[in-house]
Amino acid sequence: MKRFLPTTMLTFLLLLSASLAFASPATIKIGALFSVTGPPSFLGEPERNSAKMVVDEINAKGGVKGKKLELIVYDTQGDATKAVQAANRLIKEDKVVAIIGPSTTGESMAVIPVVEKEGIPLISCAAGSKITDPVKKWVFKTAQNDGLAVAKIYEYLNKKKLAKVAILTVSDGFGSSGREQLKAHAEKFGIQVVVDETYGPKDTDMTSQLTKIRGSQAQAIICWGTNPGPAVVAKNVKQLGIKLPLFMSHGVSSKKFIELAGDASDGIMLPSGKVIVSDVLPAGDKQKKSLLAFVKDYQNHYKAEGDHFGGHAWDAVMLLKGAVERGADTPAAIRDQLEKTTNFAGIGGIFSYSAADHAGLGKDAFVLVEIRNKDWTLVK
């Protein structure tokens, strides 16, 4: 007990000295908060990979206006507390001019008060519409609002004259946002949610929920989640012999889902960013060039398929690059320039920010795809 004070003080001093950072003026520091580990690592990992990749590329080509970009990534583990701590560190110690991320809506909402107070632009990679609605001065986002994905499905249902749906959503941030949007948009499309069920992120059997759905009036099933849950749902649907059309969310628009669901994936439809169908897009598509470049680079760098989550980070870096190219180098100037972004064709869609819109995407950001023979096909 006697020695606690020296020990404590020593610890503090050590931390203090360890945390003194060096600043080099020839670079532009960009901070990034991604949930590289923890439950949302399916978002954070491709985001970090993509951000690093594109920053390296930019630097290899000589940087932006002669200045190199320096990307500082902190892992937030999906935890709001860690996200806020890391945001503070980026702003106050690393002195970054802008922050990319965080990966999830919850973490983004946690970080917003910090960046708003400190006056640092934030480009969130999370989808929740409340991030930019209402518009906050310093906050932008690249991920498409979940509502847009919902609208894609509902439009299709309208076309097929299916009015009653059952929704099955995962009880995490992604699923609960989807569930909110599914219910919020239903009325507008004349659709009725007749069953509203959820499942846990680590659940291994959803037959109970699906049995309930089977016993209902539902004409279609919409499942909102990220791997591996939806694959289990797909298999369970097949097991129970349910013949209703099954829709997934953009949360599983990667080959991984097809691998996990196997044969059960056949016939499933989902709204997706254009990444996965970049090669079959019509030549006139404005995004096609960006998409093809992203997919090719990601494959080269990481020997893995790039997905649209990584695309969010790619877009964010490119948007920042654009702002810096237009002459901005302080946080305030970058914010102003970001807001002036128009018609930037990125991975997630075509971005046009304005003072009234910090989400910047129209509904053409999504396409509806169907899985046939373990591959994607565009649903016209």
């Binding site: 846990g200 291994t204 059997d205 309930k212 129970l240």
Partner: protein
């Protein structure tokens, strides 16, 4: 569809999920019964079973039976190593120290698996196809039959081992009174090691056999471990039929809870049952109360 048909499906689904919990729960019970340790890392051994199988299928390109053998051996080695390196050297094995160490172990195993194997989820092919089997109006998958069979096999083997072999009896003696067991010449440390080996093997086998249904990734062990533990508690931590009944009951209640009450709160239902049982019948539902001695 009629409500009765729905309930039939809930029951069948519940039983098949419950069998998974039971199989995992038995692993907990074995260690507890011979060492008085609740191994919080047991769930990770379940995970390792799946991951090692994946490794031997995809990297070593072994046929499935060999892959299973390899995975069980590898996971058992991990369990034994864990015991040798962390539990055995412990000077004062208080329950608190053991809880912390096994939690630390589970974090460590999970972390290392993530580092080596990555964060992706992977599918493992079903042992005998995935054509659903009809039971009345309800359906299950062939893999569920494997699980039921293995569970039955596990409790039978367990029973035979602990009742009829010298080693098994010695392990039971250690649980009843470690010092006395030592005095009559039983190598207590060896028995502890044995029980870790057996439960690791069983845990990983459980992990392998459920993997085609649950898929596998570095973090599947947490929830499966917890549910398995619930099953074991409901069954009074018995290595036999009690835990199996506990697991089945848990599965059925979860499934009915999800179907009839609320799917969002189904895990909460499982844990509320756990708490109630701990409060009312801490000796488990299926064992007779023993006179409490100080």
């Amino acid at each position: 569809m009629e409500l009765a048909d729905q309930i039939a499906q809930y029951l069948v689904s519940g039983l098949s999920t419950g069998a998974i919990y039971a199989l995992i729960g038995i692993g907990f019970a074995i260690i507890y019964n011979s060492t008085d340790i609740i191994n919080f890392a047991q769930g990770e051994l379940v995970m390792l079973g799946g991951m090692f199988t994946l490794f031997s299928l995809n990297v070593l390109h072994l046929p499935l039976p060999l892959a299973i053998l390899f995975a069980v051996a590898a996971a058992t080695a991990v369990g034994v190593l864990f015991e040798r390196l962390t539990i055995r050297p412990l000077k004062s094995p208080t329950p608190l120290a053991l809880i912390i160490i096994t939690i630390g172990g589970s974090i460590l195993i999970r972390g290392i698996t993530m580092m080596i194997g990555g964060k992706d989820t992977h599918a493992i092919p079903a042992f005998s196809g995935s054509e659903p089997i009809l039971i009345g109006t309800a359906t299950i998958l062939p893999q569920h039959l494997w699980i039921f069979a293995l569970t039955a096999l596990a409790i039978t083997a367990n029973k035979l081992f602990f009742e009829y072999t010298i080693t098994g009896k010695a392990m039971r003696a250690c649980a009843v009174n470690r010092r006395a067991a030592g005095l009559v010449g039983i190598d207590v440390k060896r028995m502890v090691l044995f029980s870790f080996a057996i439960s690791s093997a069983l845990g990983s086998l459980a992990g392998i056999i459920v993997a085609p249904l649950t898929m596998t990734s570095y973090d599947v062990g947490i929830m499966l471990g917890l549910k398995g533990f619930c099953a074991a508690i409901i069954g009074g931590l018995s290595g036999g039929i009690g835990t199996v009944l506990g697991g089945l009951l848990l599965g059925v209640l979860e499934s009915l809870g999800a179907g009839l009450i609320s799917s969002g709160y189904k895990d909460a239902i499982a844990f509320i049952i756990l708490l109630l049982i701990l409060f009312i019948r801490p000796q488990g539902l299926f064992t007779k109360a023993q006179t409490e001695r100080v």
